[in-house]
């Protein structure tokens, strides 16, 4: 019996992702041209990246180091020997007529991550390769212009196993990947600048089937949201075709975000035989076990490990731990505040609240308040010396002008008044001014405590310690 439920419920979505990230080197993979984004077309080119006759590639050790860090950040096994290979095809923005990549012997193999959903995703391999240039079709009427600034820029390609079963998991995997690589200082992972690019291999099969069905590859996924959307559309298309008994053709698809549709790539689909073979201009990359161990020792703690430490040993609530670990600088500031004596939960509140708010206003700027000063401020608030509200004011001043919190609070008259005589005077005044409310309170209308506390705070100019005021009013009204 068929026909019950949506078509997509009977099918299982199978996704494998190929992710290209640009390694954050200063210069290209095989020459000394700059990798800076946004230069005039072809400003960053030389005989090597132009593929001039007689020019030869020389590997950039910084790129090898960063690719090794990427492999370790993603839990892959770095290979002691890997080999650059030529991938042959003709295209005007590919200067040599081949791309230098890695094929039979990639830099790293076999990684695995468990996502929050519980899904376990394998990483097949990570290899290094050079980027191609850019064909620009709308600059010169009737002609194609070529910009080779990107040609030779170092990339790491990260290929997953077809282990993903939902668009949400695909996005979670991509977020983990980006977070890990940014944390490890490997890549900016900016989709806008093209330093993170995603291709998705998608297929659908009936639930319970063990073999995979024909897949299609979706390119041009410019954001995680678009990736999820395009995968959903393509899955639906596959399911419908399977239901109609039509064969899915293995081909490259493009996601057109303007029309919200996935359609076959316009270029004619020649079946490419890339004729890979080891690049004879480049000796094998031999990494010693000692080198790999040294890189491993220099790796920062992974966001996942950090998150666990925050929740398990620092008492940070899980959502706060997630938010802190999206940003290495933020996480490190938070830890410095904790090291300076603040408790984890409160330090997380301040870091994600006041600190983060101001960082958002000044993107990229370092936090001007030393972690020790924030820790001292947290201690003042905890001791009741300044109120929470006044504390925020003190923080704003520290951010703007510098200085230590106690001195600022004193200068600006923000020290809370907890002295019983002073408080009693204000309470007397308020009782005198609000006899009705006092009478109702004494008759048992407890919610009026808050109103009267508010009046005392107002009269004190915010300096009264609200806890003590509360207590005094309750006592004097005979509420115990």
């Amino acid at each position: 019996m068929t026909g019950t439920g949506a078509v997509t419920e009977r099918y299982e979505l199978v996704i494998g992702l190929e992710v290209h990230v640009q390694l954050s080197t200063r210069t290209k993979l095989f020459c000394r041209c700059s990798t800076a984004f946004g230069a005039a077309p072809n400003a960053h080119t030389c005989p090597v990246c132009l593929g001039m006759p007689g020019a030869l590639p020389v590997p950039n050790p910084e790129a090898v180091l960063l690719a090794t860090r990427a492999a370790l950040a993603l839990g892959c096994e770095v290979q002691e020997r890997s080999v650059f290979a030529r991938k042959n095809y003709f295209y005007p923005d590919l200067p040599k007529g081949y791309q230098i990549s890695q094929f039979e012997l990639p830099l790293a193999l076999r990684g695995r991550v468990t996502l929050a959903s519980g899904a376990s995703v394998g990483i097949t391999r990570i290899h290094m390769e050079e980027d191609a240039g850019k064909s620009v079709h709308d600059k010169v009427p009737g002609k194609t212009a070529i910009d080779l600034n990107r040609a030779g820029v170092p990339l790491a390609e990260i290929v997953s196993e077809p282990d993903l079963r939902s668009g949400a998991d695909a996005v979670a995997y991509l977020k983990w990947l980006r977070e890990s690589l940014v944390f490890a200082g490997v890549s900016e992972c900016s989709m806008e600048e093209g330093s993170l690019r995603v291709d998705a291999n998608v297929s659908a099969r009936l639930r319970g089937e063990t073999a995979f069905r024909t897949r299609t590859e979706i390119k041009n996924l410019n954001s995680f949201a678009f990736a999820e959307r395009a995968i959903a559309l393509e899955f639906k298309r596959h399911c419908a075709m399977h239901d109609r008994g039509e064969p899915v053709v293995q081909q490259t698809m493009l996601y057109d975000q303007a029309n919200d549709e996935v359609r076959p790539a316009r270029s004619k689909e020649e079946s490419h035989d890339y004729r890979y073979f080891p690049d004879p201009d480049l000796p094998p990359i031999d990494l010693t076990a000692a080198f790999i161990a040294a890189v491993r020792a220099s790796m920062p703690e992974s966001p996942t490990a950090r998150r666990m430490r925050y929740t398990n040993t620092l008492g940070v609530p899980a959502p706060d731990a997630d938010a802190l670990t999206t940003d290495r600088a933020l996480a490190e500031y938070f830890e410095a505040v904790v090291r300076a004596g603040a408790d984890g939960r409160t330090a997380a509140n301040w870091t994600l609240g006041e600190v983060q708010a101001r960082r958002n206003e000044h993107p990229g700027a370092a936090v001007p308040v030393p972690a020790a000063n924030l820790a001292a401020l947290i201690a003042l608030v905890a001791a009741g010396t300044v109120s929470n509200t006044a504390g925020k004011q003190v923080f704003a001043t520290m951010w703007r002008e510098g200085g230590v919190p106690k001195a600022i609070a004193e200068r600006d008259g923000l020290i809370q008044v907890g002295d019983a005589d002073a408080l009693a005077r204000w309470v007397d005044e308020v009782f005198a001014a609000h006899p009705d409310e006092l009478a109702r309170l004494k008759a048992g209308e407890r919610k009026l405590v808050g109103v009267l506390v508010g009046q005392v705070m107002k009269r004190s100019g915010g300096k009264a310690d609200p806890k003590k005021v509360n207590q005094m009013i309750s006592e004097r009204a005979g509420l115990g």
Partner: protein, 488 residues
């Protein structure tokens, strides 16, 4: 004036350094000799050793750092094979596709030569992209053999060999992938040196087959070649990742005895089918070596017969990728083809069809085929395995106490133009030379007599980076053979 060009490089350098000769005069005379060699006034067909000549002699001399300075090659005119990138002259590779190509950078060796005071007089004729054994595949006409202008000078570095043999210059650079320096040196009766792979930077040498390509040196005499070799060799980590890191020992030395040296004669290089006259001339070298104190030993390199087939898989495979960059997009010839359907593809096809000659086309097709899906294992991977066997053959002979090998350079002396039209037969002429390229070993050819007036070469092959030992043998053979090296 009595020509400094007819003496040794050492004598010329001394004369320039002492002020007895000027770099400008010597270069001017050298260029005059190029003109004379092409004039046909002696009733000879033009030698056609050069594709380009630097007519602005003054600037050519000025481009090197001071002919009179105390430099290793002060005032020495030198010719470069036209696949070595230079700033002042175009670099055509003997191909229509690069007919007007001027390189925006110069080869490492060119910078070293200029710094040593040498004057680059011109660029020499070669088989297109160095693919060939006769220069008959040059797009700009073949060079001729100065000993008999109806015969080929050998190839692919035939122009450089002809220029040196004709007395235009004392030294020249060539390149070789399977014997393209040693074979023309043998055919033209001069010295030709192939370095260990990695010993001379390839930066600026237009690639044919990157794992086999080497820049090589021609000299009229062993010492001429040695002096140039010492200038152009050495590490170049900045530009060539396959360059060897170790500083080489100088190869220039006084000729001496060979006491304690063991020379191997590999049986596979003296097959029964070998021309007895060639065998006889090579044995002259063996006798000369023994006279100088060397011990001669029979050895075997059992996988030699597999070398040519393996070579003609690996070299075209690498070439098919190396030559993809000639696509009409960024430099070189572009042929526009009106085609509404697919103008890009039409441009590629027209450019490459018109730009490449038949031998280059053949090798690109062959190389594309052997790398194709389904054929890679059967051809390329197997050829690489054969290459390992050939390396192992040499390693085991050298490990057995043999210091160098002595063999014929070529199976025959220079052949006539058009005599070999079957590509396979032409490929088999490389049988004694491709092995050193496959095994990355240094090897050189020295004159060892003549047959009916045509030169014959003896080849010395040494362990990798043992160039100094190889030259020691060459110096001794040259001294011992004397005039016999150049007579029947």
């Amino acid at each position: 004036m009595s020509s400094r060009l007819d003496g040794s490089v050492g004598a010329l350098v001394d004369a320039v350094q002492s002020g007895a000769a000027s770099a400008l005069d010597v270069a001017t005379e050298s260029i005059a000799r190029i003109r004379a060699s092409d004039s046909g006034t002696a009733g000879d067909a033009p030698l056609n050793a050069f594709v380009s000549v630097d007519d602005d002699v003054q600037s050519a001399v000025a481009a090197s750092s001071g002919g009179s300075a105390a430099r290793a090659l002060a005032g020495v005119p030198i010719a470069l094979k036209d696949n070595i990138a230079t700033l002042r002259l175009r670099t055509t590779c003997g191909s229509r596709i690069l007919e007007d190509h001027v390189s925006p950078f110069e080869a490492t060796v060119v910078g070293k030569l200029r710094a040593a005071g040498a004057t680059i007089i011109g660029k020499t004729t070669l088989d297109e992209f160095a693919m060939g054994s006769s220069t008959e595949h040059s797009a700009f006409g073949p060079a001729r053999n100065p000993h008999d202008r109806d015969r080929v000078p050998g190839g692919s570095s035939g122009g450089s060999a002809a220029a040196v043999a004709a007395g235009i210059c004392q030294v020249a650079l060539g390149s070789e992938t399977g014997g393209s320096v040693r074979q023309p040196a043998a055919f033209c009766g001069i010295v030709g040196v192939k370095p260990s792979y990695g010993r001379i930077s390839r930066y600026g040498l237009v690639a044919f087959a990157s794992s086999l390509d080497n820049i090589g040196v021609f000299g009229r005499a062993v010492d001429d070649a040695a002096r140039v070799f010492d200038v152009v060799s050495g590490p170049d980590a900045e530009h060539d990742a396959t360059s060897a890191a170790v500083e080489p020992e100088t190869v220039q030395q006084e000729p001496g005895r060979l006491d304690g040296v063991v020379l191997g004669l590999p049986a596979e290089y003296f097959p029964d089918s070998l021309d007895p006259a060639v065998r006889d001339r090579v044995m002259r070298a063996s006798v000369a070596a023994r006279a100088r104190g060397a011990e001669i030993r029979q050895v075997s390199l059992p996988h030699t017969a597999l070398a040519v087939p393996a070579y003609y898989v690996i070299a075209p495979a690498e070439a098919s990728a190396n030559l993809s960059r000639y696509d009409g997009v960024r430099f070189g010839r572009r042929v526009k083809e009106a085609s509404a359907r697919d103008p890009l593809r039409a441009m590629y096809e027209a450019t490459r069809s018109e730009g490449f000659g038949p031998e280059v086309t053949r090798r690109i097709l062959l190389g594309t085929y052997v790398l194709s899906a389904g054929y890679y294992d059967a051809y390329y991977r197997r050829a690489m395995a054969v290459r390992d066997r050939i390396r192992a053959d040499f390693a085991s002979v050298f490990a057995s106490g043999v210091h160098a090998l002595l063999t014929p350079t070529t199976p025959t002396p220079a052949f006539k133009f058009g005599a070999i039209s079957d590509p396979y037969e032409m490929y088999m002429t490389d049988v004694f030379t491709v092995t050193a390229n496959l095994a990355e070993l240094p090897a050189m050819s020295v004159p060892t007599g003549r047959i009916s007036g045509l030169p014959v070469g003896a080849q010395i092959i040494a362990p990798r980076f043992a160039e100094r030992a190889m030259f020691r043998v060459a110096y001794a053979l040259e001294a011992e053979l004397g005039g016999e090296a150049h007579t029947g």
